[in-house]
Every structure is written in C-alpha cells, then in structure tokens.
C-alpha cells in the first residue's frame, strides 16, 4: 500500500440529476493489493460514483485517474484500461455458454475471423482453476446459480487483465456459505496485487474483508478510515449522520379495531400466511430478499392471484381478482420500485396523483380539470411535497417526493390499509426522516399499515409488531419490539 501512487484516484467528483445532487466533491483513492469498502446508505451516491468510474455515466466536474493518467470515458475503454465493474445485475448473456461469455467482445481470432476455440479453452481453464470454479465451459450461463455466475464474471475480469475490480453489492444474492467462498477468492486476488473496491450494506462483511473504508453520505464523502480504526457504532453514525436512536422517530398510535385480516394465504412462493393488523398499527414484515414478503403484499392487493386463503378488510371478505377490487375495498399498495411500478414517469405529478382517483372528479368520463388541480394542490400543501408545479414530470421528482406523491394518491381515496414495500428504498437520509414522520401520522389517523423492509434497524425502529418471513412462510412474530435485536430477527429470518 503506497499512498504516493494510488491505482485509482478520484478527486473532486460532482454529479447532479434533476432534483438530486448525487455527488459533490467526492475524493477517493484505491490501491493495488487492498480491498477498499465503499459504504453509505441507499441514495448516498455509491452507484453514481461506480457508474462514473466505469464510464457508464459522465461527471459534471472532477477527475478520475488510473495510475496517474485520466481514465477513458466509455465503458468499453475503461474495461480495456483495466478497471472492471461487476454490477448487482450481472452483465452476462444468459443464453450463451460460459466460454462464450468469458471472451465476449475479446474473442481470440485465427485467420479469416474464425474464433480460436482451443485458445479460449486453454485460457479459460487456467482462470477457472485459479478461482477454484469447477464448471463445464459449454454450459449456458443461465443454468448456473447466481454465485457461480458471479465467479464467471470475475473470471471474465481476470481474462481482461483487470487491475482494479469494482463490485457493487456482490453478496446481496448469496448465501452465507457462498459469501465465505467469495471472500476466500477475493483475499487471494488481493494477495496477487489486484485492487478491489467493494460495495456492501452488510457491516459484518466489511469487518471480514475490508482494509480501508470510505463512507459516502448525501453525495459527499464523510471520511476515509483504516478498517480497524472504527467501531461499528461509529461507522453507522458516519453513514447516517446522527446517532442511531434519533433515526427512527416512532410514536405509538392508539390501536383500534382489527382492519386487515389475512388467513392461510397461499400463492407463488407464499405458503399459508396468516396475520392481522389493527387500525393505527404499523406491522413490520422482515426477512431476507426472496423470503416472499413482497409477494404477500401483492397477493393481498390482488396484483397476483392467490391460490388459497382469505383476506378480510373491516371484517368483509375481499375477493380481489385484481388491484381494482382491492382499491375499492380500501387497500393500497406502495411498491418497492416506484419508478417501475408506482409512477408513469412521462406523466405529470398531477396526473400521477390523479391516476386511480379520476372517478372522484369526473362525470360521464369527462375530467373536471379545475377540481383535480385544487385537490392536488391541497395534498401538496398537507404532505409538503416539493414540486416545482403540478405539471412537473413525476420522473424528475426525488425519491422521497415520489413516495409522498403516491401516498397522497391513496390518502385521497381514503384507503384504510396501506401496504408499504420498502418505503425508504432509494430515498436519501433527510427525506427518510420525513417518510417516518408520515408513517407515524398515517398510523395516528387510524390507518392499518404493513411495512415491508430489508433494513432491520428500520423495522425495529418503526414497527409496533414484527413478522418475520423465510421461504414463503411466517417464521415468527415479535410483539415486544423494544427488546428485539437485529440478531434475533435474523435468527428467525434464516430459521
């Protein structure tokens, strides 16, 4: 580790998107033979930073240098220069074989443009052996599990003579055993002098693999520390910008009647799920990715068809054949991916708000535009939605304001049950606080709220009661939230 000649040097990097300052004056050094952990909450700017370094995005200001010379500005050239990025969504072609993927775009060529398959095989076997990956070179990549696909990507990077490997949340979809194996490989690569930038949310993993840590918050770099110089609490404080106990301003609301009652719900991966939610109650639904939490919400909402089970709202059976029925019964779903599933990005904020409410201000199919504008203005005022005007395209709002816009839509409908799927995903720290206050207010108004979240501190901080799911089933219920810990929830989630 020689600070004089870093492998990669990022300095003064700035990047803004409409409504968001993604990066501001970010500096970062990555060296040969070390693992640099890049930490930060969702929306802290990690992805933007990676995209700029890998050439997929441009910066507004600042420089990126590799061994002292500026990095080229297109993804292909950056890769050729030796900086390879492996994203969460792997960039392999599923239909092609392992060998074809390994050499895609860099095929060794014989005369007349024929691919030199023998040469490919020879080089591929060398690399796979180095990674300890035992796989048939002619298998289509789609037949491999995610962990192996990831190793194929790493092999691809090594074949491209990568000097710096950037990994964006590589462990998100892996089992603990697979993570351990990945780390063994990464340590070996580090010993061989490869530089590695590692992005993760999981602090345990940071302890296990990182040499140095850089923390981003709200698009600015908070600091750079040696991995053993910082306690876990200090690290969290650096990430969120304030002590943890203020992070979740939970106010318990008065609980009322049972509003939502789910019994024996089955469908897709979901098996026999039963629970109840009272008016004014926030029920946290925890579990690992793929545990079936989102699916439960979609089944209740009628977005997918349930194969068995009953859903009751205010004691009345809801036979939802589609979202329309559920909405009619007063159930609302606020999806995890607001851009893909919540909003019509090309339409204005007003039109997005009105979607699903049009029957309230139309007669004979004709929309009363004046009424629509005034109702929308009322919600903008009440929820503090920051829009430049009712016509601002919904796609240009910040994450927090998009979430508020969707909440406004369902408040106008007077929905009694609100199913929040990852309500703060992609929302920056300041706006998160407002979403939590909004959840409190909704509860105090007597709404029954289900909050699905992958962030255990959020579940622990905001819920009145916690349900934990694993493999499509409810594995446990925590009534005494105050004495529950992340570890106890995790234990249930992997049980």
């Amino acid at each position: 580790m020689t600070d004089a000649s870093p492998l990669l040097r990022v300095s003064g990097l700035c990047r803004s998107y409409p409504g968001v300052r993604a990066l501001h004056e970010v500096d970062l050094d990555a060296c040969e033979g070390e693992v640099l952990a890049l930490l930060g909450e969702n929306g802290a700017g990690k992805s933007t930073l990676l995209k700029i370094v890998s050439g997929a995005e441009t910066s507004d200001a600042g420089t990126v240098e590799l061994r002292g010379s500026p990095l080229p500005r297109s993804p292909a050239e950056v890769t050729r220069a030796g900086v390879v990025t492996i994203y969460q969504e792997l960039s392999l072609v599923p239909q092609l074989s392992v060998r074809q993927n390994l050499f895609l775009g860099r095929e060794p060529v014989r005369r007349f443009g024929f691919v030199d398959r023998d040469e490919e095989r020879r080089r591929a076997e060398l690399v796979l052996e180095r990674l300890g990956l035992d796989v048939d070179l002619d298998t289509p990549v789609r037949e491999l599990e995610v962990a192996r696909q990831q190793l194929v990507e790493i092999a691809r990077a090594l074949l491209a003579d990568a000097a710096l490997l950037i990994m964006d949340e590589p462990t998100a979809a892996l089992t603990p055993r697979e993570v351990e194996r990945l780390f063994v490989i990464l340590r070996e690569l580090r010993a061989d002098g490869l530089g590695i930038v590692f992005v993760s949310h999981r602090l345990d993993e940071i302890d296990a693999i990182a040499d140095r840590i850089v923390v981003l918050r709200d698009g600015e770099s908070v600091g750079c520390w040696s991995a053993d110089a910082l306690s876990r609490d200090e690290l969290i404080e650096a990430m969120v910008g304030r002590p943890l106990d203020q992070e979740h301003p939970k106010q318990a609301a008065e609980l009322g009647e049972i509003v939502l009652e789910v019994e024996g719900l089955c469908g897709g991966p979901v098996r026999d799920v039963s629970f109840q939610v009272r008016a004014g109650e926030i029920v946290g639904l925890a579990g690992l990715v793929g545990a079936g939490r989102t699916e439960v919400a979609r089944l209740v909402f009628g977005a997918d068809r349930a194969t068995a089970g009953t859903v009751r709202v205010d004691g009345e059976v809801l036979n939802a054949t589609g979202p329309r029925d559920a909405i009619g019964a007063g159930v609302a779903l606020l999806t995890e991916d607001r851009k893909a599933q919540g909003l019509v990005l090309a339409l204005s904020s007003r039109e997005n708000f009105a979607l699903g409410n049009l029957d309230r201000w139309s007669r004979g199919g004709l929309i009363d535009g004046a009424r629509e504008r005034s109702v929308f203005a009322g919600h903008v005022e009440r929820l503090g939605i920051r829009v430049s005007g009712p016509e601002q395209p919904a796609g240009t709002l910040s994450g927090g304001n998009q979430q508020k816009l969707l909440v406004a839509r369902w408040l106008e409908r007077d929905c009694r049950v609100l199913l929040f799927d990852e309500p703060t995903r992609g929302i920056d720290v300041g706006a998160r606080h407002e979403i939590y206050l909004l959840l409190n207010e909704l509860a105090s108004r007597g709404k029954a709220i289900v909050m699905i979240s992958s962030e255990l501190p959020e579940v622990l901080g905001m819920s009145d009661r916690i349900l934990v799911m694993n493999e499509g089933r409810l594995r446990g219920e925590v009534d005494d939230v105050a004495s529950a810990t992340q570890e106890s929830l995790l234990a249930l989630a992997v049980s």
Binding site: Y17, G19, V20, F301, A303, P323, L333, A340, G342, V344
Partner: protein
Amino acid sequence: MTKTSSKRGGWRSWLAGQGMLGVLLALCALFSVLTLQPQQLAGTRAAEALVDELVDTAPGTSIAVLSRAGAEGEQFVDELKRRLDETGRSPILTVAGSPAAIRAALEGASGVDVLAVPSDTAAIVGSIQSDLPGLGGARLMSPPTRSWPTFLLKSNLLNVASQIAVIAIIAIGMTMVILTAGIDLSVGSLIALSAVVTTWTIARMGGVEASLPIVLLGALGGLLAGAVTGALSGLVITRFRVPPFIATLAMMQVGSGLAYLISRGRPIHELPDGFETLGRGADPLLGIPHAVTLMVVLYVGAWVLLERTVLGRYLHAVGGNPEAARLAGVPVRRVLLFAYTCCGALAGLGGVLMASQLKSGAPTYGQSYELHVIAAVVVGGTSLFGGEGKITGTLIGALIMGVINNGMNLTNVESYTQKVVLGLVILAAVLFEQLRKHSAEKRAARAGAASG
C-alpha cells in the same frame, strides 16, 4: 407550466414545442413559392375583372358576352350582363354554351365590336372569329390574369385535405394504439375488407337502384367489419399476451384474405350514384368536401377524448407504464381493447370513405396504407415507445405528408422520386423530434440540477 417555460425560453422554446407545425408551414411556404404563376380568373370574379375595361370602351360599341357551358361559364355571362345592364351598356348577345352554339349565335349576329370572354373560352372564340369574316374587326377581350400560387388555390387546398382524409382518420385510431405502446398493422387490409363488405352489401341489395337505407346499412357493415376485426386483435393481445406486432400482422392477412373471398377478387361497381356523396360531395355553402368535414369532426372528438376524459388519461398511463397503471387500478385490458377496437372501426370508416371516393370496392384497396398511417402518427411526434403523443400532432403529420405529395405533383416531380423524398422526410422528421427531445431533456436536467 407552458406559460412559465415560454417565458423562460422565449420564442425559441415555443417554436421547439411547435416543431412539426413549423415544418408544415415551411413546406407550405416552399410550395407556394415554387408554384407561383399567373392564374386565370373564372366565373363571377372573371366578370368583375372585365367589366370596367368594357365600360371604358367607346359609347355605342356593341358587346357580345360569350362563354363555354358549365356553372362558371353561366356565372360569368350572368354577372357580366347584369353589370353591363346597370351601366346602360347592355350586351347585344349573350351565350353560355357549346362551341357549336357560340358559332351559331355569332353567325346570326352582325356588327359585333367586342367579344367578351373568360380566359378559358378565348381560344375557341378566337378560332371561330377567324372563320367568320363578318367578325374580322371585332376585339376579343378577356379578363387579366393575376399572380398567385397554384398550391394556395382554395380548390387545391381542399384537394389536399380530401386526399389525406382516409389516412388522417385512421391515424386517429393508430395514435391511440401507439400511445399504448402498441402497433396495428392490419388497418390497410381493413380498408379493403370494409370497402368490399360495404359495396358487396349494396350491390347485393339493389345495386345501382339501391336506396339510401341500404347504402347506410352497407356502410355500417363495413364499419363493423373493421371494429370486430380490431376487437379480435385486441382480445388476442390482452388475453393471450401475443405481441401487438404479431397479432395485427396475422389480422392483416385475415382481413385481406376475407376481402378477396367476399369480392371473389374482382372490383364491385354496381353502386347507386348517391353512394359518392360521402367521398366526393361537398357542402353547398362553402364548398368544403364532406370527407374533410368528417375528418375535422373526428379530430375534435379525438382531442376531447384524449385530453379531457378518463379514458384518454388511461390510454396515456397504460402506454407510459402498464404495471404502474394496473397497480393504480386502471383497467388495463379494457383500455387496450378499446384502443384496438377503435382503431379497427376507424379503419373500417376509412374503407367506406375510400369506396365512396372511388365509387367501387376492391380487395386491392389500402395496400401499404398501414405504413402511411404509422408514418403520419410518428411524424406527428407520437413516441413508438408509448405514453407520449398528441392528436394535433398526428393531424399535422398527415398534413405534412399530404402537402409533400401534392406539392411534388404540382411541381412535376416524378412519382418514383416522390417516394424517395417522402421516405427521407419521414426520417428527417423523426430525427428532428429526437434532437428536440434530447435538448429538452438536457435543459430540464440542467434546470433540475440548478434547483437541487
């Protein structure tokens, strides 16, 4: 929003917002300049232009007012006679008739000093005059010409409008379909199917003698044939999730095949005279063709539908993000079904209109019209990815294509060259739109960055 942005960007951003309208106006200006030439006057206006000159001739001059037969000829003669009577210079002879009639009248007349004729009759009367020695000294007088673009003549503009009527009407339905991120390739063959169904029904139920109710029944049949086929496409697309491209490609074959089956491959001509009224008739007051009136009415209706109704909002939402729309409670399938049914029905109407214009129905009608219709929609600025588009843009798109066609005909561009030019114009329009959108996005991004 519109107000603030125009304030900020001034006339330039306003112009960018009206991009295709600007292109249309530029094309009109271009063809106006290219077709500027002396125009002959006819009818009443020809008479008005000539009367002063006649009154100025020496008193006692005897005037003959002559014109070939036809409405304009009669108007010319009547108006000129009335004006001359008012000034006490009544003509000694007035004829509006065939060359033979004019010759006969002139042979019987004597002492004619001035022959007053409209421009289109001057040559005929001139040759008659040279045959008749008695008229040797008479002056042949016709109204002066004036300079005016042929393109901008009222008759030509109405001609452009009626020529695009079929495409423009179907383009309404296509706009809805493309707004939902779909496509309908079957409209061309639905024109043929509808035209054949309409004319076949009328030919079977009276033919040349068919009464008005039968004609209306036939037209309704054609319209329904389009609507039902469109609905079928919609059902296949929504129920079985067949991509619109494939579903309507299949329907294109089915529709065309049915048209050939019903007509046995031959054009159907056994139609009453009244059948032309829709396609060739015009209202007696302003002379606007019924086809153009129908088109305008449909566009007004479509504008209201798309901009002011729940259904219109749903069409935009479904095209922009079908999953978000569904989760917001939008009945996505019904909206799609409506779009395809509506598009089919309008294609059916287009078929009826075309059959009426050509006074026959044949299975060869409408070939490759789907491409013209799609081109009109795309040139009009509707995104093929769905969610974005305006019906006014589609009308402008159809007009641009019609104007280019017409303008090139007027300037004697060869028809093969016309195809090349039309293709390039479509390409240019889409490129222009892309560039405009790109720079608009950049502007928005910069504005957003400044505020955030």
